[in-house]
Symmetry: C2
Subunit: 361 residues, 2 copies
């Protein structure tokens, strides 16, 4: 096992070679670390800025063995890392951060909401659904309209079906393939916020200012940060993040998605045990961004400051929107972050821009 803090020159493994892995790799390089990417696709966006890429499946034992041999610690850019992968890496003697507990909670919506309820963090009402009978009972308890989601996978609105009236329940269950599911009461929210927070190996916690997020078609379109919120709202969000991080004995950056209700109360929608799209504004809005913060945490370094230095409006560049790069490059207030992806398929996240304003604007 490695000893922490890891000195510069140590090697950090990252599971996943997409844009989050790429931006983590760039941050690690600034601090003098080497990075090795594991990704099934050759020539991944992150692999092209890393010392090395191992091409293999996330559950391929031989690839994991090679990764463990060269890495002092391993982290990941996506929450669907198989539990067996973490077990295998740990058996090979390399720590994985964030740990198995965070992954288990983040991979299953019922486990996640049950965990949140247990630690006293508010969410919408929910019920586990395995069968059509479960669903009927859940609708009777929670009411309709309500939202049926598969327990596992499903993102950006996929694997979901509304139950508008109790009689619709069987059809909705069919629409998600009768898979194990969760039924959730709809949140009557006025805003979608998120808090990006970090916990170090020594238990230190740091939260960034809140993000105010706008989704379109289930995909993040825009984040404005620091969000205009009362100090009570900010305190509430930070207390929620701290409670989750502590209960999970978490190491790294987490993204916690929040619903703000009319009265100001916050509910947790879900959390992602990784750097988060709604934290991209920190690249140009804070001295230490979420990517360096995550690397600091997993390497056992002290966390960096999270105070804002500018107001940022982050906009995702989806699909062919990236073709506007020349126009964007000419905007003096606009910082451009592109992911090195080849084909600009519709809706694919190709990059983002951070537009800066002074904090007092």
């Amino acid at each position: 096992m490695s000893t922490f803090p890891l000195p510069p020159g140590s090697t950090i493994g990252i599971l996943g070679g997409g844009q989050l892995g790429r931006m983590l790799a760039l941050a690690a390089a600034r601090l003098g670390f080497d990075v090795v990417i594991l990704d099934p696709e050759e020539n991944s966006p992150a692999g092209r800025v890393a010392a090395r890429q191992i091409v293999g499946a996330y559950d391929d034992r031989w690839s994991l063995k090679r990764l463990a041999e060269v890495c002092d610690v391993v982290t990941y850019e996506f929450e669907n890392v198989p539990a067996a992968t973490v077990a295998e890496l740990t058996a090979q003697g390399v720590l994985v951060a964030p740990g198995a507990k965070a992954l288990a909670a983040a991979q299953d919506r019922v486990v996640e909401k049950t965990f949140l309820a247990e630690i006293g963090v508010p969410t919408v009402a929910f019920a586990a659904v395995e069968t059509a009978d479960d669903l009927a009972a859940a609708v009777a308890r929670i009411g309709a309209p309500s939202l049926l989601k598969t327990r596992r996978e499903g993102y950006d609105g996929k694997g979901q079906a509304w139950v508008q009236r109790p009689a619709d329940a069987p059809a909705s269950f069919d629409r998600i393939g009768q898979r194990p599911a969760i039924l959730e009461a709809p949140a009557d929210f006025v805003r979608e916020l998120s808090v990006i927070a970090a916990r170090g190996r020594d238990g230190e916690i740091a939260c960034y200012p809140l993000s105010d997020n706008h989704h379109e078609g289930g995909v993040l379109r825009r984040t404005s940060a620091p969000a205009k919120v009362s100090s009570a709202t900010r305190d509430q969000a930070e207390a929620i993040a701290a409670r989750i991080l502590t209960a999970l004995e978490y190491v790294g950056v987490i993204g916690v998605e929040l619903f703000e209700l009319a009265g100001g109360k916050l509910l947790v929608n879900e959390f992602a045990p990784r750097v988060h799209n709604t934290g991209h504004w920190t690249q140009d809005g804070c001295e230490v961004d979420q990517f360096e913060q995550h690397i600091r945490a997993v390497a056992g370094w002290p966390l960096g400051p999270t105070a804002p230095r500018a107001h940022v409006e982050m906009t995702n560049l989806l699909g062919l929107e990236v073709d506007a790069w020349a126009k964007l490059a000419a905007e003096p207030e606009t910082r451009i972050h592109l992911y090195g992806k080849g084909e600009a398929r519709p809706g694919r996240k190709m990059g983002h821009v951070n537009r800066l304003r002074g904090l007092k604007d």
Copy 2:
């Protein structure tokens, strides 16, 4: 030949795999470019954050052919790129920026100072020296003490000898190996400043605020920026930079080292046709740093803003000073940049820190 501006996904070649190449590669990645490094050493600092490294000598035709095949443009991190290398790459159909004219001037102190004199940029008095007789005549004209330097190579105080009295001249000439040289009058300066400037493919010029530089033993120790200077001094420096950039039909970032005399007049000490150690403060002091600016210029993108957002004190970490990383990581105002070099040999540049203060502090 490539057409400019280069779209994201294009490939930028960099000659040299040291820290400057590494920080250029990281900046290029943020903008969605791929980078290929050419360096004779395997596993170079820059190669470990690039899509690919070609291991070969800078004048190896086969390596240059491979580089030209995969790159849309080529740049470099050091000024001693052989002229034949640029000619070979150009013959292979790939543009090199900054161009041959800038390299030729920067590689030979007599050519450099003659060029500066021709375009009306002030320097110390100087004379070319080929023989002992030349030197005697030069000392008679310029006086003593004066400084004898080899025309080519020599950096950080190497390849230099003082001529304290006319009678010392032959011994000084021996000390620099009787190589072709330049004799320079000493500059009676009060401060060493520098200006980092850029010129785009369309001729646009942008200057960063001046850097105030402190050398020890001929090596840069510390830069403070923006330097406290009068607007007249700043105007003088910007006019000098613009004159050099325009005369060289330059594309990219240049570092111009200046002597500030007691009366406020600036002399050019020398210039480096590349990103510059005295510009590292821009990484945390400006929205677009010198590395992104250089990539923007060579890719034919519009230049970014150069206004300061913070006051920065940059300190080089030489040799074992890098072992203080844990202490430095705990300083909230300190941003750490490490180069991924293995052995911390005495005086070797291992990294730097940028310490931030508000602009009004």
